[in-house]
Point group: C2
Chain length 411, copies 2
């Protein structure tokens, strides 16, 4: 008997989250068992509000553009599902809609929180013997999911970071007496993205100092290093994580004191890079610049890694195949089989083992003095940024997919 | 009789300044009259300190990479030449070195200040009947030189800006209730770069509001607009120039009050975008994000415009040809012959007409309400971002030229 499937996207977008969507759509299209392929606008919230589109209405040419279109094309959401033990309302509503639409497979492309949603949903479905497979498809630029070699989205993010760092290094080193340039990189409490800046060293344009949240940040050691390198080279490039903390666990960003006396004094926005640059200027009287890479880290699809795009796409394809085979309550995971040649396989992991855990950078990837990255990390990360997609251009700019998004009627 | 030439780079780098260098080198290589091709490290300062390299020692393959290598490969400098009427010391030193090295042509790739240097030098050489041609080669991402249709470097900068704005728009519009995102763009007192953000509208991903320094910035009108658009769309994307001013001519950035009571309170770094984002949060209680595009605007050569690269290269080639023909005291300029098909010619302009002038955005490029850009600008700017170079990649990252930089001996 034929059945329908629904796909949602959730959490912070990446450059390749739509490649996973395409993988699921294509696999579903190729299955004679699948009737309708639904897309949930803005994740779970879209299902609950019947903001559901018919993905079969999209033309193939547009869908192909998904591989190089950044951001969550179905819209995203940050929605924390409550425990069904305390309140079943939402769950009953979902079952009601899934039943009406004959949905027997739910795919959710997301990070940590989204896997928690998948986990709760699959547990509930099992508990009440509701036949709908739930498969999580991983994505996050932060690379902080457990049980996976690396997350789709990470490779493209560090390809962007390493390239941008190399270009910045090239730029700032053209003066005899340059500046201390501090580049702030995303990643919350994990240093994966910042570690990626090290790849720029392969073109001799790497940062002079790299600070991750995994190692307590020592302000005086930092200042000594800056002074030393500046005296020697006439410029310093620092890459650091937004989430660096001191030895007490306090975020360095929180060292900032606030002045809320007037409309313009109370600055919440400047990050830790700005804060430390200002300090370097005050303490060492050196010229400074602070750069926050910001959201281009997760949406610069023009610089995506082809390896990453293909893996994200395969995660989507495999998610459908695994659901068809009767699996549920699992996340598709990437296992590295070998590094040379680089080979991976796509397997399954229990959602319970993934949801709400965070994986940080292993200490073996960080140098002993705490301000550099080891070759072991380079070996791990380098395959992930290999090869470039053919970006379709229009009017001199990358061409993005614009879906029709035909809403289905509330029957 | 054979002669030698020398080339320098000066001022802020661009993505394509090295393409102009390559143009001069290749033209000089093709001339049977040219003996040595010298490169001045860090501009005028390099000549004075005998930091002069032999560019014939560089291999051809490396030189080809100059077309896609960002930053000033010879090193840059910010050096203001004094008037020779007040003190001839520096000028005499230069003549001494040029005579020793048989240098009969000096090429300087730079912006406003560099053209001032060229102008003074060529005037002095004329005055004392010293036979050395001086030709300026234009570059600046700011596009604020007079007497030229557009400056090499500008096209690549706005290709980067428009692409990044389109990607950011794509990213921030994926939530139902998103943020007010303010993107701060370079350009000093001219709004050329910020205007370039409008090109993203061709892919329906343009900013909702665009503010240039050419129009006085009205804070209350700004807040009204933000509120209106947020209510309608659930997110707002603003592109604004670092140099926006109020109706009295005061920089909006200077509205910030300082708190210098402790080590961390005194923030000089955050730009006007951050300041206004904070204000939106306070006054309208809307979620905000501030993004400063920063120096990737001038060094993201992976996203350079091929049109820009070719024009920068041609400016270099023509500079040599014009000097060979006996011209001096001139800058190579680009004249637009037609827009459809897009065609330009390379002509000469007196340095006196260029040095120390600034060209701002004409008011016809700005909408009547002062917060948008007209189609007239799009017609002007669109040809400048067309076509993409083939970027050579190595290890998953763009490959840059690394010159040998063989110093000549002080004879």
């Amino acid at each position: 008997m034929k059945y329908s499937v629904i796909i949602g996207q959730s959490g912070g977008p990446t450059s390749v989250i739509n490649a996973s969507l395409l993988g699921i759509i294509e696999a579903a299209c190729n299955s004679p068992m699948v009737e309708n392929i639904y897309g949930a606008l803005n994740g779970i919230e879209g299902i609950l509000n019947y903001q559901i589109i018919d993905l079969r209405k999209e033309d193939k040419e547009t869908l192909q553009l998904l591989k190089t279109t950044p951001s969550s094309i179905l819209g995203s959401v940050r929605y924390k599902l409550n425990n069904y033990q305390s309140d079943e309302t939402i769950y009953l509503k979902l079952i009601n809609i899934f039943t009406k639409l004959n949905i027997k497979a739910f795919f959710y492309i997301g990070g940590n929180d989204s896997m928690d949603t998948c986990h709760k949903l699959s547990e509930y479905f099992k508990d009440c013997h509701f036949d709908c497979k739930v498969i999580g498809v991983p994505k996050t630029i932060d690379n902080d999911l457990v049980g996976i070699d690396h997350t789709p989205g990470y490779g493209s993010a560090i390809k962007y970071i390493a390239t941008t760092i190399a270009e910045i290094y090239q730029d700032i080193s053209c003066y005899i007496k340059g500046k201390v340039t501090i580049v702030e990189i995303m990643g919350r409490d994990a240093g994966w993205l910042t570690a990626g800046s090290k790849l720029a060293s392969l073109s001799n344009n790497g940062p002079d100092l790299i600070y991750l949240p995994e190692i307590p940040f020592d302000l005086s050691h930092f200042l000594i290093k800056i002074k030393e390198i500046y005296q020697q080279k006439g410029h310093v490039l620092v890459a650091l994580s937004e989430g660096i903390k001191d030895h007490t666990g306090k975020y360095i960003l929180n060292y900032r004191s606030f002045n809320s006396e007037d409309d313009f004094g109370h600055l919440q926005l400047g990050g830790v890079g700005e804060l430390l640059a200002e300090l370097v200027n005050r303490k060492l009287h050196l010229p400074i610049r602070s750069i926050e890479l910001n959201i281009p880290q997760r949406c610069s699809s023009h610089l995506a890694s082809l390896t990453d795009i293909e893996e994200a796409y395969m995660c989507g394809k495999k998610a459908f195949a695994y659901a068809s085979d009767g699996n549920t309550g699992k996340m598709v995971t990437i296992k590295r089989l070998s590094n040379n040649p680089y080979q991976v396989s796509y397997e399954l992991i229990d959602l319970a083992q993934v949801a709400n855990f965070v994986r940080t950078v292993p200490l073996s990837y960080i140098s002993e003095d705490g301000c550099d990255i080891t070759n072991e990390f380079i070996e791990y990360a380098l395959p992930l940024i290999q090869n470039e997609p053919l970006i379709p251009y229009n009017n001199g700019m990358p061409k993005f997919a614009h879906l029709k998004k035909v809403l289905i009627k509330d029957r």
